[in-house]
């Protein structure tokens, strides 16, 4: 049984992962993250990678909604913040363990996601983006109006951590990111994802094909919100406090920036962007001369990437190491003579 499973795993690895350089890079990245604590347990490095994992998942959840289904959400922090606040409130007021309060917070974020999806059903393009942009601002105003519950400007303090052990927190964050991003990637490439692609390209045609586009769009909002909510909840318990910053416009725009810089409709793109830009800006902070210009440096990098890689970093790299088969549209390593799936001649 074990041998058969291992054999199936190896076959899958050989035929699905090791055949494409981009997938090998992702595999090396994932394995590298998982074995890193065997070589170093530097708490600062682990903190950076924990934060990067949280924001990578958050950005990937934005990509799933905006990239795959075309619902360009400018207020994605709403889902992150809703879960962070509700999980922290449940934990602080009811004494419920973070292991339970985080999923509850994520489910509440999912409910909010569905509500937003319903609210925005008839909106498209900039109208949808602007509506979603103001929603977290409204929520912050409401939170400020009820400081006895939400802590007002200061937020909720004394939030319990899942564990004080940095390595354990690291594994929770990294495993959450790997599992959730893999889930989003698989979903994006499934039939469900194909329908989302189709809705993004031509909603009328999809409706004409007899599919309920409203249902799919609402589901995309809900799924994206739950994923953002899971890491939002974890964030609150890791930092041990939750304040208005988790609903800030800046956080929403960070998701958009990471998504666009990394390359949308890829899930891997936003993750790559976060894992490059977040540690890089931290690295710059080590140099006093750069400290005040950290945000400027960040903006400059973003501008340069968008100037030279308009489709984002990951698609740019992928186009240089892989090529698409003109016949079956599957990707192949650049330089292959024949397509690995349909054997079409790729030498042209």
């Amino acid at each position: 049984m074990v041998v058969r499973t291992m054999r199936r795993g190896w076959t899958l690895l050989r035929t699905e992962v090791l055949v494409l350089p981009s997938r090998i890079v992702v595999l090396v990245f994932a394995v590298g993250l998982l074995v890193l604590p065997l070589f170093t347990t530097d708490p600062y490095l682990l903190r950076i990678l924990i934060m990067a994992s949280i924001f990578a998942t958050f950005a990937a959840s934005w990509d799933f909604l905006a990239g795959y289904s075309g619902q360009v959400n400018f207020g994605h922090a709403l889902f992150f913040g809703t879960a962070a606040y509700s999980s922290a409130l449940i934990n602080v007021n009811l004494g419920i363990s973070p292991l339970l309060s985080i999923p509850i917070g994520a489910l509440l974020a999912g409910v909010v996601g569905v509500l937003v999806g319903v609210l925005c059903l008839r909106l498209r393009g900039p109208y949808l983006s602007l509506t979603t942009l103001v929603l977290p601002i409204i929520v912050v105003s409401v939170f400020f109006a009820i400081p006895d519950i939400t802590g007002g400007e200061l937020g909720i303090r004394r939030v319990e951590t899942i564990t004080r052990d940095r390595v354990a927190n690291y594994y929770i964050a990294v495993c959450m990111m790997l599992v959730l991003c893999f889930f989003l990637w698989k979903l994006g490439n499934s039939r469900f994802g194909l329908i989302l692609h189709a809705i993004r390209e031509d909603q009328v045609a999809v409706r004409a094909a007899g599919l309920n586009t409203s249902r799919y769009k609402i589901m995309a909002f809900g799924i994206s919100a739950v994923v953002a909510g899971l890491v939002g909840g974890f964030y609150g318990h890791f930092v041990r406090s939750v304040g208005p910053a988790v609903l800030a416009v800046q956080l929403s725009f960070e998701a958009v920036i990471f998504g666009i810089v990394g390359g949308i409709v890829s899930i891997v793109g936003p993750v790559a962007a976060v894992f490059i830009l977040y540690p890089l800006t931290e690295l710059l902070a080590d140099f006093p001369a750069f400290q005040e210009f950290r945000l400027l440096a960040f903006a400059l990098i973003v501008l340069l990437v968008l100037l030279f890689m308009p489709r984002g970093f990951v698609p740019w790299v992928r186009d240089r190491i892989e090529q698409v088969c003109p016949s079956c549209k599957n990707r192949n390593t650049r330089g292959r003579k024949r397509c690995r799936v349909c054997q079409t001649d790729l030498s042209d």
Partner: protein
Amino acid sequence: MVARLLATLVWLVISVLVLSSGSALAADPIRVAVLGPMGFLQGEHHWRGAQIARDEINDAGGVDLGGERRPIELIQIETNEMLSVSDATTAAERAITRNRADFLVGGFRSEAVLAMQDVAMDYQKIFLGVGAAHGELGERVQEDYDTYKYWFRVSPTKSADLGRQLFAVLASVAEQIRTELGRDDVKVALLAERAVWADPLVQAAEHNLPNMGMEVVGTWRPSAVATDVTAELSAINRAGADIIFTMLSGPVGIVVGRQSGEMELAAVPFGINVEAQKAGFWQATDGKANYLATLDTYSPVEVTEYTIPFVESFIERFGEPPAYTAATYDAIRVLAQSIEATGTLDADTLVDYMEETTFRGTAGNLKFDERHDPTWGPGFVTGLAVQWQDGEKVAFWPNGWQGVSYEGMRPFRFPTAMRED
């Protein structure tokens, strides 16, 4: 050839001696991380205050640690706390683990400082807060002493004491109105920006002022970023207020200063006006904010023997007076004194010493209470109240309050319209 070799050798020996003597001072410095939003005035003044303290201590030979002179080395940490709490926590951890800071000073935004406080306590690092006023920072020390005992607040006084100071100054202004202007019934208008921090102050004012013999004629709540408050000021004028009790932290403070001057109101604004604490306030209001008053921390008055030299040194070096976050100066001097007295860098020993000792600071005698907040009141830190008089920010309080007076204080003055009224 031999002469050249000898000369080279002599140079080499001299170089080694010079370097080693220099490195005796720089070999093992005491590292103090200055945390703050460095792109903002608050963080800038954190850094400037700390620089003056460092230079004074190092010029005097460094800190005597068990017979060995050790210099202070400052590490500037940009927390980005105005925008991101997670950045602030990461910065605090970077200061401790990567920069190997022995102590942390600074912090401004309460939401971020609470999160940074947790990080510092995890590492049992002494963190001297300079900037965040929220009471919760000290409450944590009281409630969970073993975890949070490494936190001390140098400045400002906690928000409850800030309220007590406000009412003490208000009572003094009201008394002056009664005696100088002959009005027995002092009327107060509350002008507080729409922000959560101002809510308890508004409630306290509505409750306390009638008990203090003052009549509250109304409450006005403009936005913290309002660009026009003529409607509010006209209403206040019609209500016959003598004092406009301000609770303003945002740019609306400048608007209130300018427009109250333009309208020649027969009332004097006093309270908290963060913009009015800044050196550029007079220019920002086009010189219209004459007689506007606010609470403040630093002024060239002799609160202690350290105040005037510090303020003058700050102005000479940076061309403007210090903001209250420049109390990093006091924080570093507290650390230096504690290290010299105990002869150790051990956090627990230093905490014991700091709890027992009264430090002489630039804002008064600094004695930490059971919450590790500065004790407020006569003989300790009192704070100051300042008034803009003909382009100059002068201190007018405490001037005899509970027997406390500092050399260099000036009398509080009323706008001409109030005298004519």
